[in-house]
């Protein structure tokens, strides 16, 4: 039997083959990088990378850095992303255009006005360029208060004051094997070698995740859920493979600073005895999700369900008769009925409450 092929011009075949070859050569599966990019453990005995950031005897900022941390980190992770695909200023992954789950310090891309409600909705991302961040974990180096740091206290104690937050307080740029190079204990909280105070969660072994992985916006903290809305923003949406890091662990990590926010199931109805942080939203569900529903521990609650770590573009209503923008800080201070501080929340006003409670 003779097969009749359709008449296809030779030039068309040649062009198609050339395009296919080009695509194959240009794309290919991305190779897995060592975890944490250049911030890895084990530079070896003849390391030369130290010179990029340190001066042994001529440091201009602690610890022996060539310059202050925010400026130094922004050299690679700034808007130009000149040394990394992760632009933490605009909250964008420059490689794939995705949005960072931590938001951004200047702009963020969280769909904070998403009108959808649970149980089917995840918080989405905005197309670039996003919107100005209305609240941030400021790393400007100015003294701040760590709200809630310290043991339960019957005497009003809002937290640790005069703390200068910087990138390196939470992240270990040398690489410690932890996901996102997070420190087991944020720097500056304890003296060297001091034992963990009883009120501080022990993160030993909880974050370690040294498996090679490719950085992308789909490989961040696993706070994805299949049966309810997600706090995770990722582009494109979808489950992540990393099951080592759980939402509960994230919650525990955040409360190494904000210790009195670490609250077990039922804390909304039982007094902690603290003068300020008396009744609290659950962050330590112990085998249950944030709302007390039974489920695998790995799907437990997470601070990141409600908050962005770096900065959020959420807004908080201000003006007469509006509440969100004028909520006082734990020490009672506020800037009046117009602060507009959105408290790093992922939704405008207090929409984050409605995502679960839908009153």
């Amino acid at each position: 039997m003779r097969i009749l092929w359709p008449a296809v011009p030779v030039w068309l075949v040649a062009v198609a083959l050339a395009v296919m070859a080009f695509v194959v050569m240009s794309s290919g599966a991305p190779s897995a990088q060592a975890d944490n990019g250049p911030h890895i453990k084990g530079w070896g005995a003849t390391a030369d990378g130290c010179a990029a950031c340190h001066r042994a005897h001529r440091g201009q900022a602690e610890p022996n850095l060539v310059q202050d941390q925010a400026s130094l980190c922004a050299s690679c992770h700034g808007p130009a992303a000149a040394g990394s695909s992760l632009d933490v200023i605009d909250g964008t992954n420059k490689s794939d255009g995705g949005a960072l789950r931590g938001g951004g310090f200047t702009n963020a891309r969280i769909n904070t006005a998403d009108p959808s409600l649970p149980p089917s909705s995840a918080i989405g991302v905005l197309a670039a360029p996003g919107l100005p961040a209305g609240s941030t974990h400021s790393v400007s180096g100015t003294p701040q208060t760590i709200w809630g740091y310290g043991a339960i206290n019957a005497v009003a104690d809002p937290g640790k004051s005069s703390f200068n937050l910087a990138c390196g307080k939470c992240h270990d740029p040398h690489g410690d094997g932890n996901y996102r190079v997070l420190r087991k204990v944020p720097a500056g909280l304890l003296s060297y070698g001091a034992p963990l105070p009883a009120f501080m969660p022990d993160m030993t072994g909880l974050l370690t995740d040294e498996s090679p992985k490719v950085y992308s916006t789909t490989n961040y903290w696993d706070v994805s859920y299949t049966d309810q809305w997600q706090a995770a923003i990722q582009s494109p949406p979808g489950p992540v493979a990393d099951t080592e890091i759980t939402g509960r662990q994230v919650g525990k990590w955040c409360t190494t600073c904000h210790t009195r926010y670490w609250a077990s199931t039922g804390s909304a109805d039982a007094s902690s005895g603290d003068a300020i942080f008396k009744f609290r939203h659950t962050t330590n569900p112990a085998g249950r999700d944030t709302h007390g529903r039974a489920g695998p521990v790995t799907l437990s609650g997470s601070c990141l369900k409600c908050h962005a770590a770096h900065g959020s573009n959420a807004t908080a209503a201000t003006g007469v008769g509006m509440y969100s923008g004028s909520v006082e800080q734990p020490d009672g201070s506020h800037t009046g009925n117009g602060s507009g501080d959105s408290r790093l929340l992922r939704m405008d006003n207090r929409g984050i409450c409605q995502k679960c409670h839908n009153k």
């Binding site: 130009a80 000149a82 420059k94």
Partner: protein, 347 residues
């Protein structure tokens, strides 16, 4: 005793010896106008900054006590990254903060105008590196949009650099331009930081891709976030290999030749970003985290370190994260990112 009348001064017929009141008023008005004009000029002068050429400079030499000296700075740019000089001496500077514009200054440092890609907002663009073609067009990489945009010398948007090969690269997500440069023949050199494909692309003056070399890695000839690049008279391509902390040189075919390495020794690099070459075989490297510009003699096959320009700080001739460099008309231009200025140095 009788009173004696004083003699009256004589004058030409028809003219009085005393200035009439209206004339005095006119004179006063003229003087006031002149004063106002002087004040106005002075105010504008202060607003626009002192011309580079009129400033004596702080006479801060390189640390080795020779060579280029700090002359002056142009302020008013928000975290500048890239700098280039046009054929007429105009300076183009990219901003990575604030309005994120490309700002144009005249050769004396006066601001002229600014420009940005059409239909973009401040937070929707990040102009980074910049180069002027032999024809005078201005090429600007935009990290937010993975674009290489082309503008006229006056800042009018002409087109996106988008030949067929670039369109194909875009299709497969392999077009993330970072640094940009021209050689004397008008060939265009672009560093690309696409995921796992850090490399250099060379386009001929018609825009046809003629050469690609390098890949992501740490070995010789590979790159880890290549940034600025420049081509010398011998056709060698000098590439700032940022995260590898080195500058690598390649021949016109992309073959690795030599490198300036990372380290603590004199002349070693930390985190190089911008590179430029003058007409005397001097290579200038903005070593961003070392807060200096390093100068090398590249007349031989291997670069020879000459001196550091500047040091860390905020004063005259000091840097906080220098990033881009350009050399033109005997002047070295350096973007001083965290100090929000462009410094000029010259012999």
């Amino acid at each position: 005793m009788t009173a004696t009348a004083w003699p009256q001064p004589e004058g030409p017929p028809g003219r009085t010896s005393r200035m009439p009141g209206w004339a005095k008023l006119v004179v006063v008005l003229i003087v006031l106008a002149a004063l106002g004009w002087v004040v106005l000029l002075g105010t504008q002068y202060l607003k626009t900054g002192k011309p580079i050429s009129e400033l004596p400079g702080a006479q801060i030499p390189g640390l080795a006590g020779q060579g280029e000296q700090y002359r002056s700075s142009v302020f008013g740019v928000a975290q500048p990254l890239g700098v280039a000089v046009g054929r007429d001496g105009r300076m183009y500077v990219t901003e990575s903060a604030g309005q994120r514009m490309v700002r144009i200054f005249d050769p004396q440092g006066h601001p002229l105008s600014s420009f940005a890609p059409p239909n973009t907002t401040a937070n929707g663009r990040v102009p980074v590196y910049i180069a002027v073609s032999p024809q005078g067009d201005v090429y600007v990489t935009d990290r937010a949009n993975d674009a290489l945009d082309v503008f006229s010398a006056d800042g009018a948007f002409l087109r996106a650099f988008d030949p067929a090969e670039v369109r194909l690269l875009r299709l497969v997500g392999a077009w993330h331009p970072m640094g940009v440069a021209f050689d004397k023949d008008g060939n265009l050199y672009v560093t690309d930081v696409s995921a796992d494909k850090h490399r250099v692309l060379v386009f001929d003056p018609s825009g046809t891709l003629k050469l690609t070399f390098g890949s992501q890695g740490t070995d010789e000839g590979k790159f880890w976030y290549p940034n600025g690049l420049a081509v010398d008279d011998r056709g060698r391509i000098w590439v700032a290999d940022g995260n590898n902390g080195r500058v690598q040189a390649f021949d016109a075919h992309g073959k690795f030749l030599t490198a300036i390495a990372r380290g603590f020794a004199k002349g070693d690099l930390a985190m190089p970003r911008g590179v430029a070459i003058d007409g005397n075989n001097h290579l200038f490297v903005a070593d961003t985290s070392a807060h200096t510009v390093k100068v090398y003699d590249i007349s031989g096959d291997r670069p020879e370190f000459l001196r550091d320009l500047g040091e860390a700080g905020t004063g005259d001739g000091q840097f906080r994260f220098p990033n881009g460099v350009a050399f033109s008309g005997g002047r070295l231009y350096v973007t001083d990112r965290e100090n929000g200025r462009v410094q000029t140095w010259s012999d």
